[in-house]
Amino acid sequence: MITSIFIAIVLILIIWVIIIYNNIISLKNQVKSAWSQIDVQLKRRHDLIPNLVSAVKGYMQYERDVLQRVVTARTTAMNTFRMLEKAEKENLLTEALHNLFAVMEKYPVLKSNTNVLELQEELVSTENKIAFSRQFYNDIVANYSTMLESFPNNIVASFFKFEPAEYFRVKETEKIKPEYN
């Protein structure tokens, strides 16, 4: 009798651990896919920037250094691969881009250039996509951390050595909202 109860308890414990383990794994994969989503958008931004720079270069002779900052920020961001560092470098690029957009406001000629407008719209959209995918990523990471740190789960997590995921941190002035309509 006692042995059968003991076996039952052990079985339940094992099943319970399996369920927790699987839940953690599925969240971990969600974190991964959310990160790859950000990555796609970042890549797209890197591709768009040269086009924009070459389109506005002719009009903005006196803003060489603004453009130069964007270009260098892009190259450094593209050459970093570790997550924490990458986030930091991408933030620098975002800042440089915002600066460029702000300067572009000063040139009314650019507003009548459809090519530039299109590129700007694409970049704004990509910026927003980055912001949204980062928001989504952070939400999932929050869920993942809660899962790892809440009570019975943390035993299982520490036993299987799950590592907590990093948030994609940003400075306060984020998610640009230019209005040009």
């Binding site: 989503q37 407008l117 719209e121 694409e122 959209s125 928001q135 989504f136 309509n181």
Partner: protein, 545 residues
């Protein structure tokens, strides 16, 4: 969890089951009534099987039931599996043009929203070619879903506002409550929409004739769609607003968008009544939507807009007046202190609505006259330009600057503008600068008719012949059928403001004139005076043509 709504979606399926059940019952009742009718008409053929009453014949009931199940399954299948396309066809929505800047922005924003919601579902963007401001979401059992936005909304909202509206709509789709609304709409509401269109076609022909008996079934379906509002709760709009804020983290933008939509033309008329539960704001402004309480909660599909805006603004710790101020400030910056009040849509000569024009733009438009149909930017009513005080001032200004010498103190009965006193056949008549109608004292008519200085061009001669023939026909028809004179709108006398009498000049010369018996004046509409002259001078009578 962020936004994974699979469990909510599961809960929704029982409601769809209810819709099917309602449809089945409807078919069953109609079919039983129909068969019972046949039994009553031909009792002899069925008397052998037992009673004349159908409920004593379980076999017949069963056969009808199976038949109804069959029919309703077909109905259900065709309307709910193709719902997206059906609805889109009904509102004439099209796929956005990727070469168009604004449309491209719409596609981009929708993509952004999909990323924000974790790419759960593919949503097709659609554009409704209408100047109104509204948005609607549809999804069907095949898994297709679409968000349709009117052109007016696309171009008048800022990027964040549009983003907030799209987030709201895509929550409806992701959460699955759009599915139930779409199915309800395509089962019942689409017929309401169709009936709307049919009625507007038939309106001119026979107003008292009522509906064709074949429409009775449709009519029942339409009435059913009102009952369905009971099942569709208001709460889902609040939930969608909340989800929109969670996705965009920007409650103020959604509040602003709702405010702008509610203060503009929401598409009454273009978006038919059956589709209202799919829209972000009810296209019809109804009192029940704005009220609260048990009944209002039960019957209406949309919650009070004021309450929605307030809830959203509370999240941002703003008050309604703050937001109104902000929006109005923006308008002032954009359009040199021109408020939205003074903007107009104008119906042009090819019957297309143009605008909205600001007042300074209106001054430049040459084809606008007091008879033109206009619609104020902020209101729903369509009226003649002459009924608007502000536009009247504009016309008056124009008149005084060009013809200041001739202006009289009598006003045109149609355009409400001062008539000009102009020389005509060596005497004076009053003529409206805009509609070219003329007011002539009765004693002057004979003088004018006798004198022959005025030459008529071919247009007037042709018109005179046509008018004579037409009026002769009408007169003949009326005499034979003993019908009264058709009630065209009577005109008020410009002098004494009493109604003028409509009559022909004489039975030989069938030109319609309006005469005031008190002031002894006659009103000729544009060209009528010339036609009368031409007719008399050339002795054109209907018999001589």
């Amino acid at each position: 969890m962020p936004i994974t709504f699979i469990d909510i979606e599961k809960q929704k399926t029982w409601r769809i089951g209810i819709f099917y059940f309602i449809l089945l019952c409807l078919y069953y009742i109609v079919a039983i009534a129909f068969v019972q009718g046949i039994f009553f008409i031909f009792p002899i053929f069925f008397i052998k099987t037992g009673s004349i009453f159908i409920w004593n014949n379980p076999h017949t009931l069963l056969i009808i039931f199976i038949f109804c199940v069959f029919l309703s399954v077909i109905h259900f299948y065709f309307s709910s599996f193709n719902a997206v396309q059906n609805v889109m066809k009904n509102i004439e929505a099209t796929i956005p043009d990727t070469n168009d800047g604004i449309h491209k922005r719409f596609i981009n924003i929708l993509n952004e929203i999909q990323i924000a919601s974790g790419n759960v579902k593919k949503i097709q963007p659609m554009v409704i070619p209408s100047l109104s401001m509204n948005a609607l979401a549809v999804s069907d059992l095949r898994g297709e879903s679409a968000v349709a936005i009117t052109e007016g909304l696309l171009s008048r909202l800022s990027r964040q506002q549009l983003e907030a509206v799209l987030a709201h709509e895509s929550y409806h789709i992701i959460s699955g409550d759009c599915l139930e609304a779409t199915i309800a709409t395509s089962l019942f509401g689409l017929y309401a929409a169709m009936l709307d269109k049919l009625q507007s076609f038939g309106e001119d022909e026979k107003r008292e004739g009522g509906l064709h008996p074949a429409f009775i079934f449709f009519w029942i379906l339409v009435k059913m769609s009102y009952l369905l509002n009971l099942l569709i709760s208001r709460e889902r709009e609040y939930r969608a607003d909340a989800a929109s804020v969670r996705m965009t983290r920007n409650p103020v933008a959604l509040a602003e968008a709702l405010y702008l939509i509610s203060n503009n033309w929401r598409g009454t008329g273009t978006i038919s009544s059956g589709l209202e539960m799919l829209c972000v704001i009810n296209p019809k402004e109804s009192e029940i939507d704005e009220s609260e309480g048990f009944w209002a909660n039960l019957i209406s599909t949309h919650p009070p807009i004021k309450k929605r805006i307030k809830t959203l603004l509370n999240m941002a710790h703003l008050s309604l007046s703050d937001m109104e101020k902000k929006i109005n400030d923006k308008h002032e910056k954009a359009e040199d202190i021109e408020t939205t009040e003074n903007r107009y849509y104008v119906l042009d000569k090819s019957n297309q609505w143009q605008g909205p024009y600001t007042t300074s733009e209106l001054k430049e438009i040459s084809w606008i006259s007091p008879g033109t149909w206009i619609k104020k930017f902020s209101s729903e009513d369509i009226e003649r330009a002459s009924e608007d005080d502000f536009l009247n001032c504009l016309f008056l200004e124009h008149l005084t600057s060009s013809h200041s010498k001739h202006i009289s103190d009598i006003k045109c009965p149609l355009c409400k503008q001062p008539l000009l006193k102009i020389p005509y056949e060596r005497t004076y008549i009053y003529r409206c600068h805009y509609c070219r109608g003329s007011l002539v004292d009765n004693d002057k008519i004979h003088r004018i008719l006798a004198r022959r200085e005025q030459k008529f061009n071919e247009r007037i001669t042709a018109l005179a012949k046509a008018v004579q023939l037409d009026n002769q026909k009408n007169l003949f028809y009326r005499k034979n059928n003993n019908t009264k004179l058709e009630t065209r709108q009577l005109i008020r006398c410009p002098k004494c403001q009493n109604f003028m009498m409509k009559r022909f000049y004489s039975l030989a010369y069938l030109v319609e004139i309006d005469r005031c018996g008190i002031c002894n004046v006659t009103w000729f509409e544009s060209d009528e005076l010339e036609i009368l002259q031409c007719v008399i001078e050339n002795k054109i009578t209907a018999n001589s043509i």
